[in-house]
Symmetry: C2
Subunit: 202 residues, 2 copies
């Protein structure tokens, strides 16, 4: 790794943790520079603005998430609906582990930023929306496989996928507000009860 | 109304709209004073701090909400599960009407502040949690009535109520992130498919 790469990564790592724990507005460029041990000039060499940094953080976090616990959860060797259980479990254990370390549930970076920034910044909103669109696609593929294999009865996969993502984000919101990861443990399994029928199956 | 009452209400009205649209950190006391046409000294006569103002805004918003569209939705003349449909409809039309006026879906004041503030301020977190606890109780009573009248099969009313609230908050989160109230229209009816079984019914 070159020095430039490592400086850039240090900026991203510091920003990622702070945006996740405290949101976008609350974390300034100076704080990020101080904690990444760099000068402001060096920051602007890599990122024209805090917005650009946030876009990169969202991309990298989404990639880590997709290649990390989402890839593990959506293991093709598991039965399709078991992958969804696994995803909820992974979210539960992750929130729980951060709480054990920092005392606070950070919630979902994407959900946090979506509620904080959607009325204020259409560039960030579009980026977050793209992450949610990818997450919906994972749920949708899984539902399609579950239908094909006879694991569940036919339903509207597009809308049920979106409903499942909404439920996941909503559980994380309540867990954060109660600062209690057990919310995910108690409510999680019900994600599989959510159904939106296809027109032809009503 | 005395002059003091009307000054206090003006402060609350200005803060309510701005906290809802833009969050807590982004809205300063100076901005609130300027827009309520008062001096800073007058602000501190009514509220020792921005936190105290936010606590009052949350209380008043929760009360407006409970006495307004929630009271309408939870009309005892409706069948219990129809009240839940009505609540989702009311949330949909409200988000839609604000978007028509301001171009942006503001989302849920309580959900917005919960994700923004839960890691940073335990006083606000506790207040928001109390609002969610009340909302859960409304869902729970409704589910109990629906079971008693035979409208739905027995289930765990406590956990299903919390799951329904999670789903409502999650739908509003996705609607805000897409800036599209139709998310609530499309996903809303599925709230009634969510079920967490009681141990004795599994």
């Amino acid at each position: 790794m070159t020095i430039a790469q490592s400086t850039r990564e240090r900026i991203i790592d510091v920003a990622k943790e702070r945006f996740h724990a405290r949101g976008y507005a609350d974390v300034g460029i100076k704080e990020i520079c101080d904690n990444a041990h760099i000068q402001k000039g060096s920051f602007y060499h890599f990122f024209p603005s805090k917005e650009d940094l946030a876009l990169t953080v969202i991309d990298e976090f989404a990639e880590d998430w997709a290649n990390g616990f989402v890839a593990e959860a959506f293991d093709p060797r598991l039965k399709p609906m078991e992958r969804i259980d696994y995803l909820i479990d992974a979210a539960y254990f992750w929130q729980k582990s951060v709480k054990e370390k920092n005392g606070k549930i950070p919630g979902c970076l994407f959900g946090n930023l979506a509620l904080e920034m959607s009325t204020k910044n259409d560039v960030l909103r579009a980026k977050l929306n793209a992450v949610f669109t990818k997450a919906k696609a994972r749920f949708k593929e899984t539902l399609e496989e579950a239908i094909d294999s006879g694991e569940i009865k036919p339903l509207n996969t597009e809308l049920t996928a979106e409903a499942m993502l909404a439920y996941l984000e909503g559980m994380i919101l309540l867990a954060k507000s109660e600062n209690d990861p057990e919310v995910l443990y108690k409510l999680g399994p019900a994600i599989k009860t959510i159904r939106i029928e296809s027109r032809e199956h009503v």
